[in-house]
């Protein structure tokens, strides 16, 4: 029986658990910080010495921790890219701009256990020689910002934060910065621009890789809320022990946000790769199945920008056998292990860990029109393909859902989306294009049928007035 495995949310939903420091301390809070600060240096077999900070960074690398924000990039590798020799200050920024439609995991941490994030940030600051860190929190989460500020004050008063953290001689300060309500501020370089007080236009890479030219043109680490919380547990368990959670290359746990047409939507923390999409949707421990009399139509597996998966699809996954040999296995949609690599091999991504389930009552044209409207609204407009293409797709879909469709609209939409993906400054281009590309490809019949119906109606003079521009 698949079960939740609560690491991050171990205490958060327990009765009587409150977001204040005293409660966090009663539950073993800040012990990982103490452990990190007490980490001894070590001699490596090749004669080199590792400083205590390098030991902790190495542990994070060995833990296999991958970013929980969307891209799933190795946190330890990200830390290793930081320019530590340039003499500039290093900044840590916590990305708490959780905005991907369908995603509601970081807010559980922010609202229920803010000290866990603070502890993870203090450890990460110490391990990376960071003296100043920021939490960039989504503007629509004012309560979270209040709780974070209170948590920071408590941590400061208790000596976990501020001058000379726990007598370590290291000064660490963390500030909360509230966004103003733009999805693009979740893109790390857009976030950095916004933090600098500018319009959140993502930066071009090269040359502005945050690890080298980030906040205030200084090396900067941007990590997601959940990722930083995992650092607490990596330190507590040790990297090697942490890596035993989950599956190889997809270690640890992650919080899945499950929404849409399931009987029991919600968030569930699971070991990565140990449960399948089908279990997450149907098991009583998780989504509890579809509503009575409905059948599965589609799944958006990793936040609204991930490519949609169609019920009945089969995927070829590469699996490493016990003998180390790679073999190919065919897996049904519902048997896909919910992890980074399997979903990537299935042509989509686990993204922000948000699963949106759609049953047979859903109209795919209407659904895509809704998604596209979001991306057209949230495109920052900096670069041409996304600025013009996102709204173009949204307008075309609006036309298609209001009686002005054409049978050729499926190809029309595909062509527009193809001219966006891979040609923009940031990954928003993909986020806007992928839903369109995948919906149109996998549910082409629905798009064509809508267009043909509208054409037929127009031919008979039945078109609603004013629906075609």
């Amino acid at each position: 029986m698949p079960q939740e495995y609560r690491l991050i949310l171990k205490h958060a939903d327990q009765p009587g658990y409150t977001p204040d420091l005293a409660c966090y301390l009663r539950h073993g809070g800040y012990e990982s910080l103490k452990k990190a600060l007490a980490t001894p240096g070590r001699d490596l077999p090749d004669g080199k010495k590792q400083t205590p900070r390098e030991v902790v960074r190495d542990d994070v690398l060995k833990s296999g921790l991958r970013g929980r924000g969307g891209a799933g990039f190795s946190a330890g590798l990200k830390w290793s890219f930081v320019d530590r020799r340039g003499g500039k200050p290093i900044y840590l920024v916590c990305n708490a701009d959780e905005s991907e439609p369908g995603t509601f995991k970081d807010r559980q941490i922010l609202h229920k256990d803010p000290h866990q994030l603070v502890e993870g940030m203090i450890i990460s600051c110490w391990a990376n020689d960071v003296k100043l860190a920021y939490i960039y929190i989504r503007g629509e989460m004012p309560h979270g910002a209040r709780l974070l500020n209170k948590a920071l004050e408590e941590a400061r008063a208790a000596g976990f934060l501020g001058k000379n953290v726990l007598g370590s001689g290291h000064d660490i300060e963390i500030h909360v910065h509230r966004g103003a309500g733009a999805y693009i501020c979740g893109e790390e370089t857009g976030l950095i621009e916004s933090l600098e007080g500018k319009r959140p236009y993502p930066r071009i890479k090269p040359p502005y890789f945050p690890a080298v030219l980030g906040l205030y043109m200084s090396p900067t680490i941007v990590n997601n809320v959940e990722t930083l919380c995992h650092v607490v547990h990596v330190v507590r368990l040790g990297g090697a022990e942490y890596a035993k959670l989950g599956t190889p290359n997809n270690t640890g746990t992650r919080i899945v946000s499950l929404s849409g047409d399931v009987t029991k939507p919600g968030y569930f923390e699971v070991e990565v790769g140990k449960v399948t999409l089908g279990e997450l949707i149907n098991d009583p421990a998780f989504g509890g199945g579809l509503k009575t009399g409905r059948s599965l139509k589609a799944i958006i597996p990793g936040g609204s920008s991930s490519k949609v998966l169609k019920a009945g699809e089969k995927f070829k996954l590469r699996r490493k056998g016990a003998d180390g040999q790679m073999t190919q296995v065919e897996v049904d949609l519902l048997d896909l292990p919910y992890d980074f690599d399997s979903l990537q091999q299935a042509g989509t991504m686990s993204g922000s860990g948000a699963i949106i389930v759609m049953d047979d009552t859903r109209d795919m044209v209407d659904t895509l029109a809704n998604l596209s409207e979001f991306y057209a609204h949230e495109s920052c407009g900096q670069c041409t393909p996304c600025r013009e293409g996102a709204l173009w797709m949204s307008k075309a879909l609006h036309r298609l859902t209001t009686g002005g469709g054409r049978s050729a609209d499926a190809d029309y939409l595909r062509d527009i989306a193809q001219n966006i993906q891979g040609r923009t400054i940031c990954a928003f281009g993909e986020a806007a294009a992928w839903p369109v590309l995948s919906f149109v490809k996998k549910f082409r019949d629905e798009f064509t049928a809508r267009g043909q119906a509208d054409e037929a109606a127009r031919a008979k003079g039945l078109a609603k007035p004013g629906t075609h521009h």
């Binding site: 071009i204 057209a376 041409t384 393909p385 600025r387 013009e388 293409g389 996102a390 075309a396």
Partner: protein, 571 residues
């Protein structure tokens, strides 16, 4: 076009330039490892710069060599490849024929689809292959252009930019013949009054942010920005604030489309009718290089002309708009003697006669630092022949950090080098005034200045036996003069100015002088002959070369070698 000073002392041999070998469209080329960025600092050479060296211009909107790179228009996306590397051995993978295998750039999540990189911001690397003409590159350009055009009003027939519009040009070169767009266009503000000199059409804007970056990073006035988001993005000044610094009109030049237009120029003239002449701005001692746009003897606009030794690609608004007086209706057109129209021959004969017979020390000459170096050289010859004291009139204002010089004369250094004025211009003027007052100076020749504004009042002018005034526009001095000789604006003649930093720069004639007006050098030659001061070459070239042979500061400089960018002289 070289910007190097031809007479600059030969520097010690420059260090050999480190190069990288890459391929552009299949042809090997060695390009420097670093090239100047927008501030002139060496930075890794970009694909766009490398393609330029290979003779392939990558189309672009947001990129400008003198502005920070933005990378937002995506027009310069090019397909490329890099040597394939064996991750295990860290060695290049070879083809069967032994050549290095090239891994073409592809989308990481869709390996069958080529991925472009923006040429403006992507550095080259050893062995890189750039494919600026490949089908994938062409398709990327087509798609970006299509995106730029879907919400564009396509109002070219009434757009001032038509004829010099990058959107038009790229559409012809890289665009598609038809549009697939069937949706409603986005509508944005039209004819926005951005400031006293600028009108903005937001629908034409391609949001390249050149104007924003220029105004913020070059001028230091963070006045422009973008409001709204996505396809509704709109260039704007701060609400309630006018876009009003002395460099706003550069944004009109920078704007690749017809979004930013000059109130002074809009709807006045189709640009394809304009004749373009290389000139020098006369509004201060910086000597910004300009292109004069004229049609049928009327000047319609000045635009900055690139010269990295002087003005880069910019000029100030006040200099740019300082041309309308050239066409003023009250321009001096007639040669007059005692208020009556006469001929050049009669006037020059009469003046030469009077000056030749004037006792030594009784003649003074006030020249102008707005005159060409060649004219000043001839004036000095005249003064020497007559034993006359000379000076020019100083004109001071406030300097700014970018281009405007405190010296508002275009040729103060020319006046100094030719000996018309001393280091401090104008110190002779009180002595000339005293000389008139006490009767020692009885003849005064004035070029291009109203001396009544500079300490030689109408009362003193009235005491003179002979007052000759050569000028362009009427003033109190020309009104008091016995002889008036109509002269030319810089745009009506050829010559040189020496700027504040000692850059001698030539300018060419754009329009014909008004009425009987002639270039001053022409009648100065006749005057010099008339007073027996000798013969001089009749052309600007000849005069310049003669002068350069005489005045040590100009040693080694020749008109023909000045080129379009000028040369440095010691000042």
């Amino acid at each position: 076009m070289s910007n190097a000073a031809p007479n600059a002392p030969a520097p010690t041999a420059p260090p050999p330039v480190e190069t990288l070998r890459i391929k552009v469209d299949g042809r090997d080329i060695d390009v420097p490892k670093t090239m100047p960025d927008w501030q002139g600092r060496p930075q890794p050479t970009t694909m766009l710069q490398a393609c330029h060296l290979a003779g392939h211009e990558v189309p672009h909107y947001c990129y400008h060599p003198k502005l920070p790179v933005a990378g937002n228009c995506r027009m310069c996306l090019v397909e490329f490849g890099t040597p394939a590397m064996d991750m295990a051995t860290r060695k290049p993978i070879l083809n069967e024929d032994g050549s290095v295998k090239i891994a073409r750039s592809v989308l990481p999540y869709e390996p069958q689809t080529p991925r472009g990189a923006i040429a403006c911001a992507t550095p080259i690397s050893p062995g890189m292959e750039i494919y600026p003409s490949s089908p994938a590159t062409k398709q990327m350009r087509e798609s970006v252009l299509e995106s730029l055009l879907i919400n564009h009003p396509l109002d070219c027939p009434i757009c001032d930019q038509a004829g010099e519009c990058k959107l038009q040009e790229s559409s012809v070169q890289h665009g598609q013949g038809a549009s697939r767009f069937v949706e409603a266009k986005v509508h944005k503000p039209k004819a926005v009054d951005l400031g006293p000199r600028i009108v903005l059409d937001d629908e034409r804007c391609v949001l390249c942010t050149r104007c924003v970056r220029f105004t913020k990073d070059i001028v230091g006035d963070d006045a422009l920005g973008i409001v709204n988001r996505g396809s509704y993005n709109t260039i704007s000044a701060f609400p309630g604030k006018a876009f009003d610094n002395n460099y706003t009109l550069n944004t009109v030049d920078l704007c690749p489309v017809g979004a930013l237009t000059s109130k002074d120029f809009r709807f006045k003239m189709r640009v394809w009718f304009l004749k373009e002449t290389r000139g020098i701005c006369t509004s201060c001692a910086t000597g910004c290089n300009i292109t004069i746009g004229s049609r049928e003897e009327t000047v319609h606009r000045y635009e900055p002309r690139e010269n990295d030794a002087v003005n880069g690609t910019w000029m100030c608004d006040s200099g740019r708009l300082n041309y309308r007086w050239i066409g003023r209706a009250d321009r001096l057109r007639d040669v007059t003697a005692g208020g009556a129209k006469t001929t050049w021959k009669a006037a020059i004969d009469a003046i030469a006669g009077k000056l030749a017979s004037a006792p030594a020390g009784s003649v003074a000459i006030v020249a102008s630092a707005r005159q060409t170096t060649e004219e000043l050289y001839l004036v000095k010859k005249l003064a020497t022949r007559l034993g006359a004291p000379t000076d020019s009139v100083p004109r001071e204002g406030e300097a700014d950090k970018l281009l405007v010089s405190a010296d508002r004369n275009p040729n103060s250094n020319g006046a100094r080098l030719t000996g018309i004025s001393y280091t401090e211009a104008g110190i002779q003027l009180p002595r000339i005034a005293d000389g008139i007052r006490n009767g020692t100076i009885r003849s005064l020749v004035v070029f291009g200045e109203d001396v009544t504004q500079h300490g030689i009042g109408a009362d003193l002018l009235a005491k003179l036996e002979l007052l000759v005034a050569s000028d362009i526009l009427p003033n109190a001095t020309t009104a008091a003069a016995h002889h008036v000789l109509p002269g030319c604006a810089a745009a009506e003649k050829r010559g040189t100015f020496v700027n504040a930093k000692g850059r001698v720069q030539r300018f060419l004639k754009a329009v014909e002088p008004k009425g009987d007006a002639r270039p001053e050098a022409e009648f100065l030659l006749e005057l010099l002959a008339g007073v027996g001061a000798g013969q001089f070459p009749a052309t600007a070239e000849g005069l310049f070369n003669r002068m350069a042979g005489e005045i040590p500061a100009f040693a080694g400089v020749e008109w023909a070698r000045l080129g379009d960018a000028g040369a440095n002289v010691a000042v």
